[in-house]
């Protein structure tokens, strides 16, 4: 019983975070790709400054999230070897 409640408790958190990061970030990336090409009918037409700015913001957020992922992976190594505590 204890196991079941513990698992259910972990479950909704994993689903929530999974949806937020696992579906949210690629959607943001998709938004960035769309923003970059918005208003361009052919490959010759110039990039729109506003679109580029929007794309940069989207890609930056995704990049920061990926960086956090790498830090999360290496957190134990960093704290054990260099005494750096990132989280």
């Amino acid at each position: 019983m204890n196991l079941l409640t513990h698992t259910l408790d972990s479950l909704w958190q994993v689903v929530l975070v999974g949806l937020f990061l696992g579906a949210g970030l690629p959607s943001l990336f998709a938004l960035g790709v769309r923003s970059l090409h918005a208003g361009r009918s052919s490959s010759e037409s110039a990039l729109q400054p506003l679109g580029v700015a929007g794309a940069v913001v989207c890609f930056a957020v995704v990049a920061i999230a990926v960086l956090c992922g790498i830090l999360l992976l290496t957190a134990d190594f960093l704290s054990g070897t260099f005494g750096i505590h990132v989280f």
Partner: protein, 393 residues
């Protein structure tokens, strides 16, 4: 050279062999979709994954001499008895890994190792050697939940990504998503190296302690880290092409949108799930994610037959590996001492060689891994000579 030392040597070599199978069994988890969409050439993909696994393995921190903690309780035995249990468990894991690879089935390497150890512990210590709560909570429940969670996340991700990019040209969209795929696949490979190599490090460390070469307080010897890192990287570079093909071509048709959605879902769940106390297997998550992209794409075909075969493989992974582990322990125990261990080791080598030779009859490699799925693992139109890669679509 004493008999005890030779036994230790055999156990260490077997542990590294397991690490190697762990590598090629899981290449597909990170790289199958990137290979399927052409974001990376097959050889480039496995090379990148191997390098990141190598780096990841060095970044891992394994401080305790534990193996399958919370699943088996090996605290009551020590010395050569413990070495024998670990050895039989490893053999069970390796044989199951190679057999599932032969059939192109992605199955969890950790579950195979757990299974082998559970079997060996049952045969030697009895029911008290197994932590049944742990088997339920750490192996069975996660195996049921992982694919469902991953499929849900990937379905939502695919649907939303397709909606957001429906009015830009396919070519621009695919180029952007292919780049994203390389990034997420790299992150997954790094995570694999950090998580999986340290399992073998723990096994070798435990064996060294059981032999008495070091004490449990000793720091992890560098050569153990180095050997484990190299073994998993070499395994990854070999590329489990049969499994990559099932994951990348067999389950659903994967375009760059689906590929990025699947890998993002896998990466997010694998990196965060253990922090919430629900350790999910990389293989189950990756498979669920790929399946989910098919569900999130309108009109896409999900090959439920292939998915069903995988689920069956997952369900029987633990009992099958346990059976092999128990049999190996009984064999080695009956013959006894060094002779028993060497006999089982010879058996392991023979069976592995047999399965490898079997796979060469119908090879799947970098040249035909992305061929159209015609209902079978091995593409029908295989030519005897490997096709030059430039012709690949």
């Amino acid at each position: 050279m004493t008999a005890e030392f030779v036994v230790l040597l055999v156990v260490v070599v077997t542990a590294l062999a397991f690490d190697f199978t762990n590598g090629f069994h899981d290449t597909g988890n990170a790289m199958a979709t990137s290979i399927a969409t052409g974001a990376l050439k097959p050889k480039a993909a496995v090379a990148l994954s191997a390098v990141l696994n190598l780096i990841g393995a060095f970044l891992s921190v394994e401080v305790a001499a534990t193996v399958a903690k919370g699943v088996v309780d090996l605290g009551t035995v020590g010395g050569e008895d413990l070495l024998l249990i670990v050895f039989a468990g490893l053999v069970g894991g390796i044989l199951w890994n190679i057999a599932t690879w032969l059939f192109g089935l992605p199955s969890s390497s950790s579950h195979a190792l757990f299974g082998g150890l559970v079997g060996a512990a049952l045969a030697s210590i009895g029911v008290n050697g197994v932590v049944w709560d742990g088997v339920l909570g750490k192996v069975l429940l996660p195996a049921l939940l992982a694919p469902v969670i991953a499929a849900l996340v990937a379905t939502v991700g695919t649907w939303s990504m397709r909606r957001l990019t429906r009015d830009i040209s396919e070519e621009r969209r695919d180029r952007g998503f292919r780049l994203g795929q390389i990034g997420t696949a790299s992150l997954l490979s790094l995570a694999h190296g950090t998580n999986d190599a340290q399992k073998t490090m723990g096994v070798i460390f435990l064996a060294l302690v059981a032999h008495g070469s070091i004490t449990a307080d000793t720091e992890m010897p560098f050569w153990v880290k180095f050997a484990c890192a190299v073994a998993i990287a070499l395994g990854t570079y070999l590329g489990g092409w049969r499994i990559i093909r099932t994951l990348g071509k067999g389950l659903v048709e994967i375009a760059p949108t689906q590929g990025l959605a699947a890998e993002s879902s896998s990466a997010a769940i694998i990196l965060t799930s253990s922090h919430f106390g629900l350790p999910l297997s990389t293989t189950h998550v990756a498979t669920g994610s790929i399946l989910g992209t098919g569900l999130g794409t309108k009109g896409a075909e999900v090959r439920w037959g292939v998915a069903g075969r995988m689920v069956v493989a997952w369900l029987i992974t633990l009992p099958s590996a346990a059976l092999v582990g128990a049999l190996c322990w009984a064999l080695a125990h009956m013959i006894g001492g060094l002779g028993g261990v060497l006999f089982v080791f010879t058996l392991l080598c023979g069976l592995s060689l047999f399965m490898w030779l079997r796979s060469r009859k119908e090879p799947v490699d970098a040249s035909n891994v992305t061929a159209e799925w015609d209902g079978s693992l091995v593409p029908a139109a295989t030519t005897p000579e490997p096709v030059v890669q430039e012709g690949r679509p």
